[in-house]
Amino acid sequence: MTAEAHKFNIDTVEHAATTPDTELPWAELGLKQNEFEEIVKLLGRRPTAAELAMYSVMWSEHCSYKSSKNHLRQFGEKVTEEMKKDMLVGIGENAGVTNLGDGWAVTFKIESHNSPSFVEPYQGAATGIGGIVRDIISMGARPVAVMDPLRFGAIDHPDTARVMHGAVAGIGGYGNSLGLPNIGGEMVFDSVYQGNPLVNALAVGVMRHEDIRLANASGKGNKVVLFGARTGGDGIGGASVLASESFDDSKPSKRPAVQVGDPFAEKVLIECCLELFKGSLVEGIQDLGAAGISCATSELASNGDGGMQVELTSVLLRDPTLTPGEILMSESQERMMAVVSPENVAAFEAVMEKWAVEYSWLGEVTDTGRLIITWNGETIVDVDPRTVAHEGPVYDRPYARPEWQDALQADTFRASEAGAGLPATGGELKAAVLELMASPNMCDKSWITNQYDRYVGGNTALSAPDDAGVIRVDEETGLGVALSTDANGRYSFLDPYTGAQLALAEAYRNVATAGAVPMAVSDCLNFGSPEDPDVMWQLAESIRGLSDACMELGVPVTGGNVSLYNQTGSTPIHPSPVVAVLGKLDDVARRTPSGWRNDADGQAIYLLGT
């Protein structure tokens, strides 16, 4: 064995088989006893340190959806054939894809980056944009716009300025540098978000049908490549127990808990990927987000038709002290993994050199059905990739309507009782309107939107302050898309079933009033701890409400994200299902801006609806 192999006390599969009684830090890595036992059962032996690292991140709530999966199924079940007719790729891939006609397709998705944005608002929000944009690229699309629904604590709380200005600057700093127009979002202040701001990010991309790419590794002998930024210790600060793979007492080296984004690297990555797609140089592709290489290798392998063999020492490192387990868990940004057939290797490398993007070949697709990861030739991971990526634990968490729900709903404001406070004269009415308009949640948002580039690309037909953002897709025909995101945590708190429906209805209306036909939904479900039956009820009701409403309106959910454990101590945030609706315009020239037009003198005003 080389000195390199001895750099760490490598825990090989062979070693694991002969040392069944080694104590493993599964609890520190967030696994429950039953989950650890399940891993031992699946493997028929104790996991190696590297395997433990992979299972622990992939079976986390964030990656496995273990608390929400049983409920999320409704999005796939409550759909008619009619709703499916334009769905080219549904839930389960990096992002859903919807047919726009004329050979065009659109993909969009919304995700959360809540807790990183509380710790370090600028970088947390910036990397939130970076992550969602990579999801869109990995579908084969050119990203064309972003949106940012935001929720912060009370506007007059001393910490709100830190989080809010940092997050807005980070979203601008990253999104502007990528050349993606920001076409809308939300800004809500409420003390329930004080210790738990919601920083959600949406990206939308367009492609020709034939350019759609999926995250799968097929074709024995095809090569696996990692490209983009080097792998550092980012995001594994919390899992420092792995710094010593043999779990002895040696001191873990420093691991950053926050990630710093490099928008320039991501912009180059976008162009580089588009050039790969144009030349049909990749068979499958996956972005690296949470759970990094663990996620990319296990998902690519389990979506493919065989297995995968990877040599982990081939990964280019920013920090040479990283251990195999840490390399597998690292969340370093601006990386992608692709599967390339041998005849395209040279052409692939030429594209990398042109854009000066670093890459390294890690291994290849096999027909063994196993994901095998070696460290200097010694096997440190030997698993069925499906057990890592798709067959993790699923929980039917108990839930029940909270006891306090009735009292909450009964606590209403009746004008007749509180009459004294209502405006009676024209002057009072005016004062009330002015007060409302000046309230933090209603007042002008241009201090935010002026920090975002809304023009880049030259295809923005509507953006703030309009109800929906509109982007032209085809310059010849004017074909385009409209997007809006909405949520109201207070409504959802009062009645989660109806609240989620209202969020959908609002986003749907915003898209429709822009002149578009609503076609698809993506959602970001921001809730407290699923281990709290009250919160679990809110989540279950919201999903039931949203899926029922989608069926009613005939728009399918094509993707989304669940963010749980948004709470301070035992106090959860209000249930906040952020709903994004995408619509289609045959010609964006016919879009309808909101607001009175200067040339509208003398035109009639109608109020529609009930």
Binding site: E120, V260, A265, D319, S332
Partner: protein, 83 residues
Amino acid sequence: MPRIVVDVMPKPEILDPQGKAIVGALPRLGFDAFAGVRQGKRFELTVEGEITEAVLEQARNAAETLLSNPVIEDVVNVEVVAD
């Protein structure tokens, strides 16, 4: 006038995109001697009057609270410079 210099650098374990871009550019200009570059900040604080220990203490505090972001940066130096 005497000044207090405060130097702030990105933490070593944190990605420094600026330093990375500079490292990439140097060899193209014929500067091949450097293996790595990190870019930080240098602040010069001027003081009217004398730099007492109390003033220096203020500078150290300001360095930790306002001039650096302790999540991603380290204050590597706070010193008095005369010229």
